[in-house]
């Protein structure tokens, strides 16, 4: 069953449907959260919160506004970013330094074969962006920086960063179009 159908059933309190949904989305949710949060224990905690939130607020899913999977992953990303920012604000130095060290964007998480292929494709498409487009997009999406922070780090005006982000995403769309 598709994620859309499952979410409708989950919204009605169907626990069996939730188990199926878990099978479908737990890997992408956990992987994404870990990519952003990095700390394994905290990643697990955030991923659990996200999955439970799917159960609690499945009724909020609106198919008009996009696919179920992007709803799920958007939620996961939002929670991961919130966590990494509050950890950063709390001054967790090691975490900040790990982020500053600019660890390789793709090589740190154990992957399934499927994710590996998708990852290879995304990597290739990211390579086609200009350096500033790529950095603007990945610093925000994978490292959880606000566009203001990205502008500071790249020493660019705010307007430029916003444009680079949009151009970067649009170019990714053109490149990834065939990969779905």
């Amino acid at each position: 069953m598709e994620a859309e159908e499952l979410l409708v059933l989950v919204a009605r309190g169907d626990q069996k449907a939730f188990e199926d949904l878990y099978g479908l989305v737990s890997g992408p949710v956990f992987g994404l959260v870990r990519r952003v949060v990095r700390d394994p224990a905290q990643s697990e905690e955030v991923a659990q919160e996200v999955l439970l939130e799917l159960w609690r607020s499945a009724a909020k899913f609106d198919p008009e506004r996009g696919s179920a999977l992007s709803w799920v992953l958007t939620l996961a990303h939002r929670r991961a970013v919130d966590r990494v920012r509050s950890a950063r604000a709390a001054g967790e130095r090691e975490q900040r330094e790990a982020l500053r060290a600019g660890e390789p964007a793709f090589d740190q998480v154990a992957e399934t074969v499927e994710a590996g292929l998708e990852r290879e494709w995304v990597r290739r498409c990211l390579d086609r962006l200009t350096a500033l487009q790529r950095q603007s997009v990945t610093l925000a999406y994978y490292d959880g920086y606000t566009y203001r922070e990205v502008a500071e780090r790249l020493k660019l005006p705010l307007g430029t960063v916003k444009t680079r982000m949009r151009d970067g995403l649009t170019r990714l769309r053109d490149c990834l179009g065939g990969a779905a």
Binding site: A11, Q15, F18, E19, Y22, S26, G27, P28, F30, G31, L32, R34, R35, P40, A41, E44, E45, A47, Q48, E49, L52, R56, S57, A59, K60, R65, G66, S70, T74, H77, R78, S86, A87, E92, F106, V109, A110, E111, T112, A115, E118, R119, V122, V137, T138, A140, Y141, G144, T146, Y147, R148, V150, V161, K162, T163, M165, L169, R173, L176, A179
Partner: protein
């Protein structure tokens, strides 16, 4: 604001679709932009498309979660009401199967649920409850009675409006976890995998604050959670040491594990 100012402001908001799709706005800006989205079709369309693009970046990070996570999440799901669900007539109780992946023995199952009125506990708390009590099957009557008294205190922490959780697991799978509330100055602390120290010694929990001697928060009894109270905002971490029977006034050995409290709002 002048008309020009308003137009400029709006123009500025239009440009936030991409940072929004990447979750790269600060909270205030995020709220303002979401308000703007409600009556700007152009931005709404753009956000929809750009969000799908951003999600492609997510797919490439997929990784299998730890197996135990599934049990914890499914257990929590069984204990957690949904937002759209009608309000039940009775105060919902934590069902017995939340105690763990393994169903507890029949004797335990027949008892009135140990635990909290669930309506007030948060989702995170549900997960913690599920894992805290995963070890409870097979307790004796006395233990259960003692734990019931303690569970009231735990329920109190879980019901706090600012309940948060934090945990740390080492490479050997030993872990310390805490459910905390800054407003209540309390934490429910669990220690697991450290076993019972030999020769009648005990695991003692300490409150660590800057420039102050550690303060004892109590002794762990087997794997029962410990309720620590009187944590001020200055608390920076919790530490566990092995101490002689009965505990010590001050730590006599190095901590075997320490848990920072910054991520849960302490340490000011």
């Amino acid at each position: 604001m002048s008309l020009v100012g308003r137009l400029l402001h709006r123009e500025d908001l239009h440009s936030l679709a991409a940072p929004y799709a990447l979750d790269a706005l600060e909270p205030g800006e995020r709220r303002r932009f979401e308000k703007h989205l409600r009556d700007c079709d152009r931005c709404a369309d753009e956000v929809r498309a750009l969000t799908e693009d951003a999600v492609r970046l997510a797919w490439s990070t997929a990784a299998p979660p730890p197996l135990a996570m599934r049990d914890r999440v499914l257990a929590a799901v069984r204990a957690t009401p949904q937002e759209s669900a009608p309000i039940p007539e009775h105060t919902p109780q934590l069902p017995p199967h939340v105690w763990g992946a393994q169903p507890p023995p029949a004797r335990v199952r027949a008892r009135r649920p140990l635990f909290v009125p669930f309506a007030t506990a948060t989702a995170t708390a549900a997960l913690v409850v599920a894992s805290l009590f995963a070890v409870q099957a097979g307790r004796t009557q006395d233990q259960l009675d003692a734990e019931r008294a303690q569970s009231r205190e735990i329920a109190h922490v879980l019901a706090a409006s600012d309940v948060r959780t934090t945990s740390y697991e080492d490479a050997q799978g030993r872990s310390i976890g805490a459910v905390t509330s800054v407003s209540e100055g309390q934490a429910v602390v669990t220690l697991s995998g450290y076993g019972t120290p030999s020769n009648g010694r005990v695991h003692q929990l300490w409150l660590m604050r800057p420039r102050v001697q550690p303060r004892s928060l109590g002794l762990f009894k087997a794997d029962t959670p410990l309720v620590a109270t009187g944590l001020g905002r200055s608390a920076t971490s919790l530490a566990v040491t092995v101490e002689p029977a009965g505990g010590s006034a001050q730590p006599t050995s190095q901590p075997i594990v320490q848990l920072a409290l910054k991520s849960v709002g302490f340490g000011e």
